[in-house]
């Protein structure tokens, strides 16, 4: 494909698929994608490239014990998270730390830092109260009539997204929920709606919902994207 100097967006699309676009360049490109089908196709082609790049990663082998841990984990019935949704992730890190110490191996400095930083964040959050949080998402022009409700249950800490009125997408695409704070976007769920345009989805939220300043649902290639790349259909801003 020839480099088209007259179309500044073409130059940005590959970087966008890679997740390398700077924050300030994203809104203009996203707005352009809404109205440019050719650009959306180009974006799809670059998504495929990015998806393939992982195959080139240098080979590394996990420890043999990991498989047993996986099978043990899927054998357990689903355990409700403790007070805050963050607890299950916190528990994983505690397990990792315990495993490392029991194995007599030194935790590499990066992992210790990871543990301390994550620990600090989680301790701070658990100090807050765990009430039920509800956020109503409003529809954008891309999906008028859609509604969304994001809710964290006080008892189990489970976060759920309920949507209605969203168009059924072709198999090439799915919806993706974004949890947004300070400009960074974390994926909370990738989902499809049933024939009537509704869905109830368990959300993977690393921290209580009150930790975020905004939420959004966008249309993405099936399986999701590392960052929002498609039309926003539902949103909430603090």
């Amino acid at each position: 494909m020839q480099d088209n100097e007259l179309d500044p967006f073409s130059a940005l699309i590959a970087a966008y698929a890679l997740g390398a676009l700077d924050d300030e360049d994203i809104p203009a490109l996203e707005e352009h994608l809404l109205s440019c089908a050719a650009c959306r196709e180009e974006l799809d082609s670059y998504h495929s490239v990015v998806a393939s790049m992982g195959l080139a990663a240098a080979d590394a082998t996990p420890s043999p014990a990991l498989k047993a841990r996986l099978l043990e984990r899927v054998d357990q019935p689903a355990v409700p998270a403790a007070v805050a949704p963050a607890a299950s992730s916190w528990q994983r890190f505690l397990d990792a730390m315990r495993n490392s110490l029991n194995g007599g191996r030194w935790l590499p400095a990066a992992a210790v830092m990871l543990l301390l930083l994550v620990g600090a964040v989680f301790v701070w959050q658990q100090a807050g109260s765990a009430r039920t949080e509800r956020f109503e998402l409003s529809a954008t022009d891309a999906a008028p009539g859609a509604q969304g409700l994001l809710e964290a249950s006080e008892g189990t800490g489970q976060v759920t997204l309920i949507v209605t009125g969203l168009p059924v997408l072709p198999p090439t695409h799915q919806y993706q929920l974004w949890l947004i704070e300070d400009g960074s976007r974390t994926s909370g769920a990738v989902f499809s709606v049933s024939g009537d345009g509704s869905a109830t989805v368990v959300v993977d939220s690393p921290q209580p919902l009150t930790g975020y300043g905004a939420f959004g649902v966008t249309i993405e290639p099936a399986g999701g994207s590392p960052g929002p790349t498609g039309q926003r259909v539902l949103g909430y801003n603090l």
């Binding site: 890679l18 990663a57 990991l66 590499p108 198999p171 974390t186 990738v190």
Partner: protein, 175 residues
Amino acid sequence: MERIARGDERALSDLYDRYSRLVFSIAYGVVQNRETAEEVTLDIFVRVWEKAEIYDPHQARLSTWLGSMTRNRAIDQLRRAKVRLQHTAEWPDAGEELVAGGELPEAMAQLRSDQARVRTAIASLPADQRQALALAYFSGYSHAQIAQALDLPLGTVKGRIRAAMQKLRSLLDEE
């Protein structure tokens, strides 16, 4: 995958045998730490177990679907922890030995062939493009962050990323 969606644990075990090295390799490439990479690997296979029904075989190969999920998850982990890595993974040379399929040689032949193809394509890029691409792919760096890391003008970085991606796309498009 259909068997996994129906709760067949043996199928999950088979999937793990085939793809755990790929998933771990990508995770390790991003987080540069074994424990964290293993946590990400575990997360990915648990997620597959819980949500196998969202995989559409018409849309993507299993290897690239898993690979995307792994990279996304690993970069997410990196960002949440706010750890700034000292060192970003590099793309291996095309000639470097691929992991043998081990106990499932035939099933892995397609994966090995795909891996060889992508490795060769990336290895054919100029070194400066490969470097910028590695920072973007493994560390999740933006243009500005790459420019800062390499002490280069922003325009130069944008040009290298664009050129690398265009070349890769044309190489990988060839059947």
